[in-house]
């Protein structure tokens, strides 16, 4: 039963990703001009002269003179063979450019997700159990201030304070000495030292909504008859809450894997630019701005795939954990 469900969902992903590829290709192509327009613009800034023949040469070299559908099928055909093409801007194979960034993106997103859970879970439980208490107000207030502060502002101000008053490193994920070093214990520690800032900046916005979900769901459960029954049986209040209602209320937490990941990746673009994080977002943004089609396309496809897989995992977990949820 469950296997059939999973299989069905995975099969669904095929037309789904096809749709994503068409739409992302069109979206990338939508802005006026092409990569060469931006390239000419850039050369023009440095006062370089390009004659029309050279421009046409480059356009032919990049295949930009072909009709849209030809470009699309050429791209998709290569992608299916695991070749994302050549980045126009970097003149390097896209495959060499994306993987490390994607891996770090996943790492930062996961770390942020754990951080968010670690904060939101106790606060959510507390404010549900102590509804409308001073503590509830303070806890939700802190969560909401995190949500309400624009990430880029928070990031820049925290970074400025860190650098000017505490002499810390400016952004990034590693200190210079570990930047290009192979993985070692020291590098992991160094990463941890740098990870907290993006984690806090990125996590603040998701925390508030998780607190709210946790609180609302737990409140629902707390007033169910079985809780009263358990209480009547003399179970300690802590176990009473932890044993059943919290477990049930956890479902929405699990389902967050699906949407927190894409949110983090998109939201992280802004933060990553300010904090100079080597994540997928800033590179994707730049590729989009310069209309570096294959590089941008690779990122859009991979991030969409990540989202779809995230949703699938969260759905499967939900089915496994909560027998009330139907699958058909």
């Amino acid at each position: 039963m469950i296997w059939r469900y999973i299989l069905k969902r995975i099969l669904w992903m095929i037309p789904f990703m096809f749709g994503v590829s068409v739409v992302s290709f069109l979206l990338i192509q939508a802005p006026p001009g092409d990569f060469l327009t931006t390239y000419i613009a850039k050369l023009g800034e440095s006062n370089e002269l390009l004659d029309q023949a050279t421009i046409d040469n480059l356009r032919a070299r990049f295949g930009l003179d072909q009709p849209l559908y030809v470009q699309y099928f050429k791209w998709v055909g290569n992608v299916l063979q695991g070749d994302f093409g050549m980045s126009f801007e970097w003149r390097q194979p896209v495959n060499e450019l994306v993987w490390e960034r994607m891996a770090l993106t996943l790492l930062v997103s996961m770390a942020t997700l754990l951080f968010t859970w670690a904060i939101a879970f106790p606060i959510g439980v507390y404010s549900a159990v102590h509804k409308y208490s001073i503590g509830d107000y303070i806890a939700t207030m802190i969560g909401f201030i995190g949500l309400a502060t624009p990430n880029f502002l928070l990031a820049l101000v925290l970074m400025y304070i860190g650098v000017v008053y505490f002499g810390s490193d400016v952004g990034g994920l590693f200190s210079p000495e570990y930047q290009n070093a192979p993985w070692s214990w020291g590098k992991v520690v160094d990463l941890m030292n740098h990870l907290w800032l993006p984690m806090v900046v990125l996590g603040t916005s998701a925390t508030a909504s998780l607190i709210r979900i946790m609180r609302a769901n737990l409140l629902d459960e707390l007033h169910k008859p079985y809780v009263d029954t358990a209480r009547a049986k003399g179970l300690s209040e802590f176990w009473l809450i932890m044993k059943y209602p919290v477990r049930v209320a956890l479902n929405p937490f699990i389902s967050t894997i699906g949407w927190v990941l894409p949110n983090l990746v998109s939201g992280a673009v802004i933060t990553a630019i300010v904090l100079s994080l080597p994540l997928a977002g800033p590179l994707m943004l730049q590729a989009l701005l310069s209309q570096d089609m294959y590089l941008a396309g690779a990122f859009v496809l991979l991030l969409s795939l990540l989202t779809v897989i995230g949703m699938l995992i969260s759905d499967i977990l939900l089915v496994l954990l909560d027998p009330r949820v139907r699958y058909d």
Partner: protein, 387 residues
């Protein structure tokens, strides 16, 4: 398919005693849904305060021309990075103590080498007048006027409650005009989301089956596309010589994309749950058309939830607008929004030389907080029989 993600509690029938504190049991039993909601809402103090804050912000935006002392785009070479001024009321002069508003005039000094600007009191006072004459304007583009809430008596004097920016433009006026744009982007954006979300979510939840699957896939599809390229494509599609109000409309459309999927999910969940409620079945047995069932029976009982969800969507749109501006994809100067103002302040120079440029950030936080608390209060209240 699993759909119970984070949807609200089921609207169970029955009397919930807490909701009715202060009202007799009989009152509660016969009270309409709206009355119950109102009673419950009043208990939520933070939400009440938030309602006042939001009301005040919208009032500011409606009367932006009157409240702001200056034209928000007027540069002033004598006020570059002018710090904020405190308004004083008790005026001690040789003739005695008088009660009238004034600020201390400041003179600009610039270090020729470092280019740092400092302001020193000139010793003069700039007197202010309530509803004095200032820059001429047209209220709502219709009524010519020149009175402002609080302006210098001499129109050539400066008065900078929130300081001035790098071009000597009055930050207070800019924030007020920014409030107008940003607060209304949220409102209009939410209206678009509402239509999309309710129609698609409603249809999906009501009919179920294939239609439901199709619409669910659509929502999933939109959710799984990274937002940045969507924003970028739409922003790039913006013809550059469009006037500001047209740009504004497109930006609103873009931010409304952020909200409708979530709203669609909520509406769908509620419809699914309600489809088998007694009163819907009764109406159906009564021979009411589907359209009538949706509009007359189901939507009204949903409206409080929808309003709550909408309220929670507005702050997301306000934040989305600031994010778009940061990426350079949103409104651009000379348009003024909170996002545009924050984008202009987003640099080290502002933090270290002119921290008052971050005042718009305070407004963003305030508005987002207020909408969130209001939404929470509304949601708690919308479930009068809940807990």
């Amino acid at each position: 398919m699993t759909d119970e993600r984070a949807s609200g509690p089921p609207g169970a029938a029955g009397v919930a005693p807490q909701a009715a504190i202060g009202h007799s049991e009989r009152d509660v039993a016969i009270a309409s849904q709206w009355q119950l909601t109102r009673w419950a809402f009043r208990r939520h103090k933070l939400a009440l305060v938030s309602l006042w804050v939001i009301g005040a912000l919208y009032l500011l935006s409606i009367f932006a021309e009157v409240v702001s002392p200056f034209d928000p785009t007027q540069q002033n070479r004598r006020a570059v990075y002018h710090p904020p001024q405190m308004i004083h009321f008790i005026d001690r002069t040789e003739e005695g103590i008088r009660l009238r508003p004034y600020v201390y005039e400041m003179d600009r000094q610039r270090d020729q080498r470092t280019l740092a600007v400092t302001y020193v009191p000139s010793g003069e006072k700039t007197y202010l007048a309530f509803f004095g004459r200032g820059d001429a304007y047209k209220l709502w583009g219709l009524f010519p006027a020149e009175r402002h809430l609080l302006v210098p008596v001499n129109p050539r004097d400066g008065f900078y409650l929130f300081g001035a920016d790098r071009l000597g433009r009055d930050m207070f006026s800019r924030v007020i005009y920014g409030t107008r744009i940003s607060m209304s982007i949220g409102l209009v954006g939410v209206a678009i989301s509402l239509v999309l979300g309710v129609v698609l979510g409603g249809v999906s939840g009501f009919y179920g089956g294939r239609v439901d699957v199709l619409i669910q896939r659509l929502i999933e599809f939109v959710l799984s596309l990274p937002t940045i390229p969507i924003w970028l494509a739409l922003a790039a599609a913006l013809p550059p010589d469009w006037p500001i109000y047209q740009q504004y409309f497109v930006i609103t459309l873009i931010v409304s994309l952020v909200g409708w999927t979530e709203l669609g999910r909520v509406v769908r969940g509620r419809f699914l749950a309600m489809k088998n409620e007694d009163f819907v079945i009764a109406a159906r047995l009564d021979g009411a058309s589907e359209w009538r069932i949706i509009w007359r029976h189901m939507l009204p009982s949903l409206s409080s939830h929808i309003i709550a969800s909408l309220t929670l969507a507005i702050p997301l749109m306000i934040l989305a607008e600031t994010g778009l501006s940061f990426l350079g994809l949103g409104l651009t100067p000379p348009a003024i929004s909170w996002g545009v103002l924050l984008k202009e302040a987003q640099n080290i120079v502002s933090i270290s030389q002119a921290p008052w440029l971050f005042v718009p950030g305070g407004f963003v936080v305030l508005a987002v907080l207020a909408f969130n608390f209001l939404g929470d209060g509304l949601r708690d209240a919308a479930d009068p029989y809940g807990h």
